[in-house]
Structures are given as C-alpha cells and as structure tokens.
Amino acid sequence: MNKSDKLRLAEKFKTDKRLWLYAIAVIVVALLIALPRIVSPYLCSVVFLMFIYIAYAEAWNIMTGFTGYINFGFSVFAGIGGYASAILIIDHGIWWPVGWLLGGVFASIGALILGSFMLRLRGSYFAIGMLCLLLAAPVLATTEYLIPLTHGGYGFQFVQPVSDLTMYYSAFFISAATVFVAYKIITSSFGAKLLAIREDEEGAGSIGINTTKEKISAFAISGFFAGLAASVFFAFQNYIDPSSAFSAWYNSLPIIMVLLGGIGTLWGPVVGAVIMTFVEEFFWSVLPETYFMACGAVIVLLVLLLPGGIITWFKSRGILPRTRAI
C-alpha cells in the first residue's frame, strides 16, 4: 500500500461512518473467534449459549416479528430438530454436521406441515393453537408409536459427537447465518410482503400477496434455524428427553429476548439475546433458588420502561437510523 492509497483510506474513514461500523464488527468477530483461547471454558460455554440464544431469538423473530403471528410453540421446532439430529447421529450413525443440518431440515418440514393448517388460524387463535401443540408434543414423543424413535421418557444420553470447541464455532456460525438470513429477508421484497401481512393481512391480499404462502415460507425458515440451533444445543447439553426438548423455559426465552431487544427489528433479537444470556447466567449463579423469579422481575421492569424494545427505543429517538438493516 503506497502513501496516496493510505491517504484515500483515511479520507474514506472520515467520510464514511459505515467503515467504522465494519471495523467494529471485524474486531468483535475476531474477538469471538479468539475467545476460546483467551478465557475460561466456563465463560466460553456462556458465550456458546449466547450464540444459541441469538439464533433462537432471530428465528422466532423471522416468524413473529416480521409477520405478526405470535408463535407460542417455538420449542416444538427446537424439539423436533434436537430429536431428529439425536436419532440420526446416535441411532443411525450419521456424520454429525449432516445430522445437525438434517435436524434443521426436519424442523423446517415440521413447520411446513403444521404451518399449512395452523396458519389458517388468525391472531390469538394461532397463538393458543401453537401453545396447545407445545403441550401435546412431549405427550406425543412418549406414546408407544414414537418410543422406538424417541426412546420415550429416557430420551438420549449422548456421548458428545464433537469437542466443545467445534460446537462453539458451529454455534457461532449458525447464529451469524440466522442473522444474515434475517437481514436478507427484511431488506428484500419478500420481507416487505411479510411486514405487509403484519400490518394488514386483508389489505396485503388485495394487492396480490399470497399471504398463506408467504406466512408458511417464513414459518419454515424460522423452523429450520430453530431446529439447527437446537441440534447443536442438545448435543452440548449431552442429553435430550421430552421435557427438555419441549421445555416451556426455552420456549419463553426467545420471546422475552425479542421483546426486550425490539420485535420486528433485525438487531433487536441479538441485543436481547446477549443481555438475557448474561442476566440469566448472573441470576442463576447468584440466586440459584429464585432465579426464574428474578429474571421475571427484570423482564417486567424492562418491558415497562422500554415497551417497544431497546432498538425501537433508540430508533424512535433518532439515535439509530430508522432503516430495516438495523
């Protein structure tokens, strides 16, 4: 690089604020990649969890934030993905990356099938319907028909297929991929159609939007990333059984994170997931008995103080630009 090139670069840095953002992004990414070599395995496992939560929250946001259809059955797809990958890897000896990927694919197919009739319900009926599915899922997993597949209440105790380090990087990649796909969606005309459904579904139909098809597509994409992230998550947990796969807590977490960070925004779920990871971890270590309650109190406070979520708050005050890319 010669002198004039450097000068031009410096000039560009001054004029283009976005370059600063890119620089910060590069530093953050480099730091996250180097993290396992710097900090303790414990902290690494917290950051691993953060990646999973980011993917969960963004996946939930792709469906609910963009189309406005409140999905109270997120864990159904996480559970399908977790089970599918466990069955494929443990019982069928499928190579782990393929098993994880297929976990996402199966969750996506599940979303496609369930979505094609659940999404004919609107508003609160859809929300209640999904909640019922979530309650039905663990029962279904322990029926005699599915026990050969799911091993019933025992579930799977798996010997981890890969090292913690590989899982850390996989989770990192999956969370980045989820955010990237969400970015691609929200800045495209497909994303505009999803937002149109959220704003006014009948109006959207009158301008040629096949609302059923677009909703199901969003649901399937959301399900894919839920299942993919869950595959890695349950591999890290080292076991999966009906109550952990379809757990109410992991069903609520993404919802809380998205509401905290800013529903329907691209970076809201990421911000919410990062904050909630550390809030949850902090309370869990300080108040092991009452940490659900403590988390609940924090959520109530934040929702009261920041009703639209953090990103929305910043946008409405003009601190952040009001673009879909944020």
Binding site: E199, E202, G203, S206, R324
Partner: protein, 250 residues
C-alpha cells in the same frame, strides 16, 4: 344510446370484449340483500362511475368483484374468464387493483416499502419501477418516510400507485376524491385521466362528489338498495327520473 354492430341492445360489447362483466350478482347478509341481481359491464380504457346513496351496495359490489366477498348468485368475468371464485390475491394478480374507502396503506412501513410489498418477486427492476411510480404520485421526496406520517392526500396517491406496482389494468377506486383538498383532488383526477389516455388503464370509481362523476366519467351506474336503477352517460343518468327521486326525494 347508439347501437353499433358489435353491441347488443343494451349497448354491451358482445363476445366478452368488456374488460369486466358482472352478471346477475346477488349478495345477501342474513336478511339484508346488499346486491340484488346486479349486472354491469366495464369497457376497457374508460372511466366508469358508480353512484348511489349510503348503503346502496357500492362497496359490496367492489368487494364481490375483488373477491373479498363471494357472490351468492351470479358470476364475475374478467377478460371473458370467470373470476367469481378466485381469492383476492389471485384476482389482484389477474390485473384488478383496488383502493379502499378507509385508506389501507401500511402505516409502519416506508413509502418505498409500501410499493415493494406489491412487487412481483421475479421482477428485476422493482426498485426503479417503484421510484418511477413515486415520481408519478409526487412522492419521491417522501420515499423513506413512514407511510403513516403522510397527509391523507399523499396516502391516497400512495394507495393508488401501489396498485400500478403489480400492473393492474382495471383500477377500482373507492371514494378517491373524498377527504382531500381541491388541489390534490385535481392532481388525482389528472393522474387518472393520464393513466386512462396514455396507458389504457380502466377505472371504476365510487364517488359522492357529483362534479367528479359528471365531469370525468364516460359512463355512470347508479345503485339503490342493492339494485341498479340507472346506467348511461353522465347526462342521461343526471336526468333519469329514478336517480332524481333517490337523490332529491322528489
């Protein structure tokens, strides 16, 4: 009315040449007959007005044509094809666009995004097309504003050009001139005439402002209590006894 070779005795173009035809449509809501055996036809490239007192069934007729309601009896044809049972989005894609009595833009989306919602996913130059349409509507400067922040007049323009985004040929406008100032009204009418004359778009408009109807429509249809009571040139309808009775009670 002049009867030429390719028209039937009612003045209707023969052989399905009318771009839009409603045949004997009846729509009931419980005991209320909103539309009673209504037949109308719309010619391509013309502006047709629809008038009638409140509750006459004007908006119901629009809803039946665009598939929001399904007719209990009768059929709707678009370019000779039966569209009675199609879903609203399918009818829109065939080329029938509509606006609503109460504006239905997407308030929490930007003006540009509002247009992009109506873009065909396969369209390559959707962005450029959207900007051209915004130019037409005089909204280029507002493209990144939230649609909900626009004035009523601007919102009506936005709703109008959004239909053009998916290349609708027939545009059903529900009270386009209501609630906007006279300058905007003139601009809207000019836009409608331009689209009609230069691009061959067909308009079917519900309107309460008689100056708009009488001054700008090629044909006027009058509904009352779900029945068609008059049809013809603005002048004919203006002098029709039934219409006078409905409007003035004389």
């Amino acid at each position: 009315m002049m009867i030429s070779v390719d028209r039937d005795e009612e003045g209707r173009l023969k052989d399905g040449k009318n771009v839009l035809e409603v045949q004997n449509v009846t729509k009931e809501f419980g005991s209320l007959v909103a539309l009673n055996n209504v037949s109308i036809w719309i010619e391509e490239g013309k502006i047709t007005g629809l008038i009638g007192p409140n509750g006459a069934g004007k908006t119901t007729l629009f809803n039946v044509i665009t598939g929001q309601f399904r007719a209990d009896k009768g059929k709707v044809f678009f370019r000779g094809k039966d569209i009675t049972k199609l879903k609203p989005y399918q009818i829109a894609r065939r080329g029938i666009g509509r606006t609503w009595q109460v504006i239905r833009i997407f308030p929490n989306m930007t003006v540009l995004e509002n247009l992009m919602t109506a873009a065909n996913l396969r369209e390559r130059n959707a962005g450029e097309k959207a900007l051209e349409l915004l130019e037409l509507a005089g909204l280029v400067a507002e493209k990144d504003s939230y649609a909900g922040e626009l004035s009523t007049g601007q919102q009506k323009f936005l709703e109008l050009v959004r239909i053009l985004m998916f290349d609708a040929d027939v545009m059903l406008l529900d009270e386009v001139a209501a609630g906007i100032n006279p300058t905007e009204q003139l601009a809207a009418l000019e836009l409608i005439h331009n689209l009609c004359d230069q691009k061959g778009k067909t308009f079917f408009i519900v309107e309460h402002d008689m100056d708009v109807i009488m001054g700008h429509c090629d044909k006027v249809i009058c509904l009352n209590f779900g029945e068609k009571i008059a049809e013809g040139t603005p002048k004919e309808v203006q002098n029709n006894e039934k219409v006078i009775r409905v409007y003035f009670g004389a």
